[in-house]
């Protein structure tokens, strides 16, 4: 009983936090709300007997991704100051689509009563996780590590600074908006 109430409370908090992520006018605040949501999700994992995963979630998501996102926000600001504007557009269409999606899935869930039946399986231990990663699914494990390497290299390659005069890959030149920011433009070339 208490478990249910606790779970319900945590669920509500997570949901509210998520809503703040998408509705916050301030980009920094939105990123921080994301961190909160991820943290709360970690708590949910813990409640679902996935303690290792909860730890990994905190480390990677909250500590890594959130941080990265905040860095991204900081590096791409139009003007100085902490306030970063983030407007929202087309709200009715978004509400409709999201609502329809949720409605559809919820209906599907509701129509499947056998979801809640069945025995509860044994708790997954770190031992099980280790065995699964390194014995049963070792190939996927290795491939993912390769993928991470590629992603790191790729991100670095894409975003590195270029000599003046070099082409920015994949972009058509546009006249740069006048700004006082210190962000360096690629080159002061004539735009088409």
């Amino acid at each position: 009983m208490t478990a249910s109430v606790g779970f319900g409370f945590m669920a509500a908090c997570t949901l509210v936090s998520a809503i703040f992520v998408v509705r916050s006018k301030n980009l920094i605040r939105a990123a921080l709300w994301l961190g909160a949501t991820l943290l709360l999700t970690a708590a949910l994992y813990a409640m679902l007997d996935a303690s290792f995963l909860a730890g990994v979630q905190v480390l990677l998501y909250v500590g890594g991704i959130s941080t990265l996102l905040i860095f991204g926000v900081m590096m791409t600001r139009k003007h100085e100051g902490l306030v970063v504007e983030a407007e929202t557009v087309n709200v009715p269409r978004g509400v409709f689509a999201a609502g329809a999606l949720f409605g559809g899935v919820a209906a599907a869930i509701k129509m499947t009563p056998e979801l809640d039946s069945g025995v509860r399986p044994p708790v997954v231990t770190a031992n099980d996780l280790g065995r699964g990663l390194l014995i049963d699914h070792v190939l996927a494990f290795e491939v993912v590590s390769l993928l991470l390497l590629v992603a790191i290299i790729g991100a670095v390659v894409i975003a590195r600074k270029r000599d003046p005069g070099a082409e920015v890959p994949g972009f058509v030149r546009r006249p740069l908006a006048a700004k006082a920011s210190s962000a360096k433009p690629v080159a002061n070339e004539v735009s088409p």
Partner: protein, 603 residues
């Protein structure tokens, strides 16, 4: 293959080989003289073979047949090609080859002044023509006959338009082709009907009366075109644009006679349709008179002869319509001789005076006695003066027609005989007697031997052919007796009377035009029939063609073009869906996913 078949094939294929060879070797053809030599040589061979064939047939009856399968359809042979030798084809073959040889020899002199390339082209066409005509004559069925028919039509087009740089010649060639092609539709449909009714193209089949009438009427349509009967006669005068020897061969002796030959051949069919025969009788008589009247008012000597040909063909058609097929065929033969003679003699005169107009001639008999004599013999034969070939054949025709349709066609043909004698007399007296009418006429002189020899040969035959009527009839398969009865006497009197009247009006330099000439002249100038065809062509055919062209361009092409424009337009309208704005694409995905979920849930 038996000897007659071989001879027939030699007569037909030799000119074909010559024509093929000359067509394939421009460097020989364009030198002129070699082409002429080859063609004449080939014609000599053909003529020799044809004469041998004729002689071998003299005692025979029955038919020699040789065919090879030609058109197949799912293991059944629909049509055959080959040779059919009997008395009719043997005699016609001999006539055609003889006249062709005479005309070709004459052309050696007449066309001598042409540039070598044209000279060679001319003789190549002659070889082609002889081959085509022979294919027609020896045809074992109506389909091969039709092939020969069309081939001679093509050759006629090529030869009428020989001076193709002259606009009037080019127009005349097209007109001839157009009119005869229209008539050939009749033959085509006749062949189709025949095939549908009997499964063959043979002429000795029994048909239902209605079918027989339909088939023969359609065949007759082809005859009306090819043999220049009213109202499809309009191409023949224009065809005089071709060189005079061509007029002699094609448009007097042989090609225009092909229509008559068709009826002779398909007699078993025509016998089964009295209706068609009646039509033929009436039309033939009308044409004879109509053309004779028009011949009266012509000043161009070739046009006189052209209308005269038209008129005589009317005689033949009338004879065939009356059921006297032998008479029609006999007249065809004698007419071939004396008409070719007349044309060649006229050619000689034209060559000497450098003009076709009889008004520019005059007194030529003194300067060119041989030509004059030849022309006079031809004219007398044509007029039906007793003793000459024309008298016998015309008499046979009149005999056949006499008792049909209450004597009306008979009277018409008698009147025509009078007119024929009259206008020919007029031409003879104006062109060959009396004082010379122009400088050239004063200095006229006889042509060389190549032009004189054929005149002599044809003149001889124009005189004696009549006396071979009996063997000719035997070859045809009917008995013949000549008796100088009332009919013959009347015809002879009319012929001589016509000539006498002409002498009184045109002899010795006089030029009195009788009232009838003035009337006919006025009617002729209205060119009513020609204008009718022009109207039909311009207002009806071209208008329909324009309508169809409009339909094709704007409706049919329009539909296709609309399809194209529609596709482009649809693409243009659909393009804004691609906004490039990523969240829009996400929305699309969401919509799709929700739809799938809904479908899964609601099932």
């Amino acid at each position: 293959m038996s000897r007659p078949i071989t001879l027939a094939l030699v007569a037909t294929l030799t000119p074909a080989l010559v024509a093929l060879f000359l067509a394939a070797t421009p460097f020989i053809r364009r030198r002129g003289a070699p082409a002429a030599a080859l063609t004449v040589l080939g014609s000599v061979v053909s003529f020799g073979a044809a004469v041998m064939l004729l002689l071998s047939r003299l005692g025979q009856t029955g038919t020699e047949l040789f065919t090879v399968p030609w058109i197949r359809s799912s293991a059944r042979v629909i049509a055959e090609a080959g040779v059919h030798v009997d008395g009719v084809s043997a005699s016609m073959l001999a006539v055609v080859c003889f006249v062709a040889l005479c005309v070709q020899v004459f052309s050696l002199g007449y066309m001598h002044d042409e540039p070598p390339a044209d000279f060679g082209r001319y003789f190549t066409y002659h070889a082609l023509f002889l081959f085509s005509m022979n294919v027609l004559v020896i045809a074992p069925n109506l389909l091969q006959l039709f092939v020969g028919w069309e081939l001679v039509g093509v050759t006629s087009y090529l030869l009428i338009g020989f001076y193709y740089k002259k606009p009037s010649a080019a127009h005349a060639a097209v007109k001839a082709f157009w009119v005869t092609k229209f008539a050939d539709m009749g033959i085509l449909f006749a062949l189709l009907s025949l095939f549908v009714a009997t499964g063959t193209f043979a002429w000795n089949v029994k048909l239902e009366p209605a079918v027989a009438t339909a088939v023969t009427m359609l065949l007759f349509l082809g005859v009306v075109g090819k043999s220049a009967q009213f109202p499809l006669h309009v191409w023949l005068p224009d065809a005089m644009e071709g060189p005079t020897p061509v007029s002699a061969l094609l448009h007097a002796a042989t090609m225009v006679a092909a229509g008559v030959f068709l009826v002779v051949r398909a007699d078993p069919l025509f016998v089964q349709s009295p209706t068609t025969r009646t039509v033929m009788l009436v039309l033939g008589a009308v044409t004879a008179l109509f053309a004779a009247l028009l011949a009266l008012v012509q000043t161009d000597i070739k046009k006189v002869l052209a209308y005269s040909t038209c008129s005589q063909l009317g005689y033949m058609v009338a004879a065939l319509g009356a059921g006297s097929v032998l008479a029609g065929f006999f007249h065809l033969t004698t007419h071939a001789f004396f008409k070719a003679l007349l044309f060649l003699a006229a050619g000689s005169a034209i060559h000497a005076v450098h003009s076709n107009e009889i008004g520019k001639m005059g007194g030529l008999f003194k300067k060119m006695p041989l030509t004059g004599a030849a022309f006079a013999i031809g004219a007398l034969a044509l007029a039906g003066v007793p003793g000459l070939s024309g008298f016998f054949s015309k008499d046979l025709v009149l005999e056949g027609v006499e008792h049909k349709l209450h004597h009306v066609p008979y009277v018409i043909l008698l009147a025509t005989a009078f007119l024929t004698a009259f206008y020919m007399g007029k031409v003879v007296f104006v062109a060959f007697f009396g004082p010379p009418s122009s400088e050239q006429a004063k200095h006229a002189h006889e042509p060389g031997w190549s032009m004189k020899l054929p005149l002599v040969a044809l003149a001889v035959l124009a005189v004696v052919a009549g006396y071979f009527a009996a063997p000719f009839a035997r070859l045809y398969g009917e008995p013949y007796h000549f008796h100088f009865g009332v009919g013959a006497a009347v015809a002879a009197a009319l012929g001589l009377g016509g000539i006498a009247l002409a002498w009184t009006m045109f002899g010795g330099g006089k030029r009195e035009n009788p009232q009838v000439m003035v009337t006919v002249e006025r009617i002729a100038q209205s060119r009513a029939v020609n204008r009718l065809y022009e109207f039909g062509y311009r207002r009806v055919t071209l208008a329909m063609a324009d309508a169809f062209a409009w339909f094709d361009r704007y409706v049919i092409d329009g539909m296709i073009n609309w399809l194209g424009y529609f596709t482009i337009d649809a693409g243009r309208r659909a393009r804004p869906m691609q906004t490039g704005f990523a969240p829009d694409y996400v929305l699309a995905v969401v919509v799709g996913a929700v739809s799938l979920a809904a479908w899964a849930v609601l099932r």
